[in-house]
């Protein structure tokens, strides 16, 4: 066995389970030698050059050792396969909007509960930020759990979920749908929401300090007092000039 063949075989078996390595290595080695001999044919005294060329041909025909190794290990070459994909999409569709809504509301409520005189505009940034984080985390968790389920490594959790999701389909499951009408309505609503949201941007109050004359800026860092909030609520002009 030449050094080239040995390197090739080592590359194939290095990613395989240890208990099958020796056997597969011996088998591939024997096969490569057979293939080389088969190609050299009846030539009784092949030159070393010719043998080396034929060996290269044979190894190239067998192809990338990583691919051959995957063929041997027969492990799935995907994370979420066709069996789990519908469950994956179904879960995302239900869980992500719920998580997004909860995270948005929680963040806004928490902001106003801890700092009552926060301007609504100031709450938007952190709320969007924490919602994006929450959504990404949820996405990762769902993907990992269902990916493990695809390999049956999750103790049957996704299997039970799948049963709940889809009993065998019957005609009774058909729901009448007005797809076209709904789409038009949805588009119109979405368009309206965006127009209103964009139009409202200039009016959303943000940091009041930004609207104060520059010489007043040093007051910004004074401890925020409840008096100011009370004054604002009651419409009494605040001594520092804030509204």
């Amino acid at each position: 066995m030449s050094a080239l063949t040995r390197t090739y075989v080592d590359n194939v078996v290095s990613h395989l389970p240890e208990d099958s390595r020796a056997d597969i290595a011996a088998e591939i080695t024997a096969t490569i030698t057979d293939m080389v001999d088969g190609r050299l044919g009846e030539d009784p005294e092949p030159t070393p050059d010719r043998t080396a060329t034929v060996e290269r041909e044979v190894l190239e025909e067998l192809g990338d050792p990583a691919v051959l190794s995957r063929e041997y290990s027969n492990s799935p070459q995907h994370f979420i396969g066709p069996n789990s994909y519908p469950l994956f999409i179904w879960t995302l569709r239900w869980i992500l909007p719920i998580v997004g809504l909860i995270s948005l509301l929680t963040s806004i409520i928490v902001t106003f509960a801890t700092e009552p005189d926060t301007q609504p505009g100031e709450a938007i940034g952190p709320a969007v930020g924490s919602t994006v984080t929450a959504l990404l985390t949820t996405f990762a968790v769902i993907t990992i759990i269902i990916g493990l389920g695809d390999r049956k490594l999750d103790g049957g959790a996704t299997e039970s979920l799948r049963k709940r999701q889809s009993a065998p389909w019957t005609v009774d499951d058909l729901v009448p749908r007005d797809v076209r009408g709904r789409q038009i309505r949805a588009e119109a609503t979405l368009g309206l929401v965006f127009i209103v949201a964009l139009a409202a941007v200039p009016f959303i109050p943000t940091d009041p300090a930004l609207r104060r004359p520059p010489q007043r800026r040093r007051h910004v860092h004074q401890p925020r007092s409840r008096h100011r909030l009370a004054a604002r609520l009651l419409g009494i002009p605040h001594p520092h000039g804030g509204n």
């Binding site: 056997d23 597969i24 011996a26 088998e27 591939i28 024997a30 096969t31 030698t33 057979d34 293939m35 088969g38 025909e61 067998l62 192809g63 691919v67 051959l68 063929e71 041997y72 027969n74």
Partner: protein, 115 residues
């Protein structure tokens, strides 16, 4: 045939052949075969097979209990011989009858569709 059709043909041909390699291997292994001998047997029989799909396939069939494997160290070069098991022979027979059925169905369908 244009390029798209050729590509589609290649895909469909591959799918058509994929299942036949298993069947052909089971049939050929009624006599003990080692990897390279099986490859040449199949090629000579007109079922050319890629070496890198055939060898892993043999191990999978062994795991499924359709082939039994044994190292023969009596010859100058030790080789792993695969022989079809009883259940493998049953599977091969079932596949064979399916093959014949499909063949007659396709032949009939082809004749009916030919003007």
């Amino acid at each position: 045939m244009d390029e798209d059709a050729e590509r589609a043909l290649a895909t469909h041909e591959q799918e058509l052949r994929r299942g036949t390699v298993v069947f052909a291997s089971l049939v050929a292994c009624r006599r003990p075969q080692y990897g390279y001998s099986l490859l040449t047997t199949l090629t000579e029989a007109g079922i050319p097979t890629e070496a890198n799909t055939l060898y892993p396939l043999l191990r999978r069939l062994e795991k499924q209990g359709l082939l039994s494997a044994e190292w023969n160290t009596e010859q100058a070069r030790p080789r792993k011989y695969y022989t079809v098991t009883d259940s493998g022979a049953e599977v091969a027979a079932a596949l064979h009858s399916q093959w014949l059925e499909l063949n007659s169905s396709i032949t009939k369908l082809w004749k009916d569709g030919t003007p």
